[in-house]
Amino acid sequence: MSDHHHPTGIKRWLFTTNHKDIGTLYLWFSFIMLLMGGSMAMVIRAELYEPGLQFVNPNFFNMMTTLHGLIMVFGAIMPATVGLANWCIPMMIGAPDMALPRMNNWSFWILPFAAFMLVSPMFMGGHFMAGQGPNFGWTFYEPLSGQYGKLAFFIFAIHLLGISSIMGSINIIATILNMRAPGMTLMKMPMFVWTWLITAFLLIAVMPVLAGAVTMMLTDKYFGTSFFNAAGGGDPVLFQHVFWFFGHPEVYIMILPAFGIVSQIIPTFSRKKLFGYASMVYATAAIAFLSFIVWAHHMFVVGMPVAGELYFMYATVMISVPTAVKVFNWTATMWRGAMTFEVPMLWAVAFVFLFTIGGFTGLMLGVAPADFQYTDTYFVVAHFHYVLVTGALFAIIGGVYYWLPKWTGHMYNETLSKTHFWLSVISVNVLFFPQHFLGLEGMPRRIPDYSPMFADWNRISSLGAFVFGASQLLFLYIVIKTIRGGEKASSQVWEGAEGLEWTVPSPAPYHTFETAPEVK
């Protein structure tokens, strides 16, 4: 089988059915999206550097915010975790490839088209700064989004993203449930595989609901339905319910794989087994379950009946319990281990600290009366960047450093990557910590200009942002350099690494496990 004649050049990437190739495609796609979404964040931070409108007009600013959020969520974080899943899951469970290799290719190759659909209106008609791109926030609340002139492009872009995610998730579930090597029982699977199994389930459950939401928008705008219009008996708030039924699980879709990555890295560098493996699995499942029944904590001020507010408050704060279990288990894994701090470990440790801070502010937001003050302010922005940037993104970067030697066969440059880490971890806190203060002081989110009372912290935040942004260019350089060459990596790569992926050579051969390994 291994003497397949593979197409080379561009055809290799267009037609590939190999999980490693597809994983690579996903990872590069997400990196490009990170740069795009990040550049938009730089525009935002530059405009907010001081009061007054300096660089862009308010409509363009809204477009930046919207596309930044959408691109980061759907373009950077999600595809990155899918890319890691593609690369790692078959190797971790001893499978020859993903269960449905052709569909795997399709899941990826929908994405560039979807991204194009999403941003294409930016370049339609008029001049660029006038901005015809989506400008209604990544949550695209009706009826504001209904006023947007190129709504159909946006809607179909979301449909395409949904199709891609659903197919990708079906593939992952089928792979995990059906392709494990003999002896690889469910409760022996690496945590990363577990978290992805549950994430895939979440995706299949909620992406169709998102598709439903945008379909309702489509018919409301173009075919006269009245889902979100009180004049016909509907309700704009209905949109928010449907959206957040997707949206809340979505944030766990972004963080669960990150939990999985960290749960691989910490035991490796602590030279100690993951503490409380079973409870980690149950906690992940509990988080996933709870994520379906807390959505309206994003809607405390829309005017729900008070019984609803109470229920959603109680359910929301409950999510802290299984998440606490995870944090405690990571801590217990490090406890009395023999730790070393190679670069992946640095990112993982930073993740545990900083994600927890984001979780803490999440708990604060979950307390409904207080959320009346927090909601739609920079406090929320600070919360979700702590969980998304220092949470999901940090874990992904850590994961990339962790598996990069396995993918490329080379070690990364130690000095450069440590520099990358320290620059990032310091600047990211300069970037996002002050945003807590801004929010508490009363600065709403999604505004292009603000009163001088918010000037100081905004300036500091922007400075942090520029440094953090520049540091990620260093990351790009390190990755390319490692692909090109570097110290040869062994199969095991890390002294404490355990698991099937560390039994095959580095770089991992094009086809791993043509005959299934036996797992004891």
Binding site: H4, H6, P7, R12, L14, F15, T16, T17, A95, D97, L100, R102, N105, W106, W109, I110, F113, F116, M117, G149, A152, F153, F156, L160, I166, I170, N171, A174, L177, N178, M179, I204, A205, V206, M207, P208, V209, A211, G212, A213, T215, M216, T219, Y222, F223, G224, T225, S226, F227, A230, A231, G232, G233, G234, D235, L238, V242, F245, H511, T515
Partner: protein
Amino acid sequence: MSEKKYYLPEPSYWPLVGSIGLFTTVFGFAHALEFHRDNLGGHLTMLYIGLAILAFMMFGWFGTVIRESEGGKYNAQVDTTFRMAMMWFIFSEVMFFAAFFGALFYARQLSVPWLGGADPVTHQYLWDKFSANWPLLHNPDPSKFASPKGVIEPFGIPLLNTIILLSSSVTVTIAHHALKANKRGALTFWLLITVILGFTFLGFQAHEYYEAYTELNLKLDSGIYGTTFFMLTGFHGLHVTIGATMLTIMLLRVLKGHFKPDHHFAFEAASWYWHFVDVVWLGLFIFVYWL
């Protein structure tokens, strides 16, 4: 069979063709919606080209799969993969319908009653002339959304359609049993009956829509009743069409001699899909037409 290795397909261009087809379809549609809304029909060329590419892709891709399958390349594990994939796909469809059922329940239980007085201030200051009822025959603002004159009675055609669809679920099961017992004649017969029932259902549904539009003034744009009615039954009808098409293809394959008593995943997938469509209909019949 199960000794054999898991089948890993060669690189394939079908997925990319599919992406291009999808993109052409939706880009064409979006373009028409945004730039030619006054004359949609005349500007759907790109959409049709996209759909044609998609159809081409389906033929090609499924054709390849059928060839591989009939050529004995799949082992039992591959079969399990297909089964799982189909099950989870149906689950995703269930969730898609759930969104629309959710909207229906929200409108019936919350938003319409609120406007009608369950939320006293909203009623008093914004909609004091509106009273809540279901089916909603008087919209909150009839000048924006013309109210329907009536709704479809549940115990006429809809009941008949319920019986038709339920029977077709039975007949497809009989056909399945016949396939497992290798009774090709019975298989063909019952499958044919199923397909006929499916298309009969669609015929009745079309008739019902015609009546709603021409006699009842019940339209997609006649307020939340028309909205939920047409969106739910419409998406269901679309799925019946897909299911009936799948079954028709199965019928053709049966006639060509495909499927074996122990190896007929495609047939099973189509019949699962058919049962799913059936169950959704039950929900529709109860919550949209009846209660």
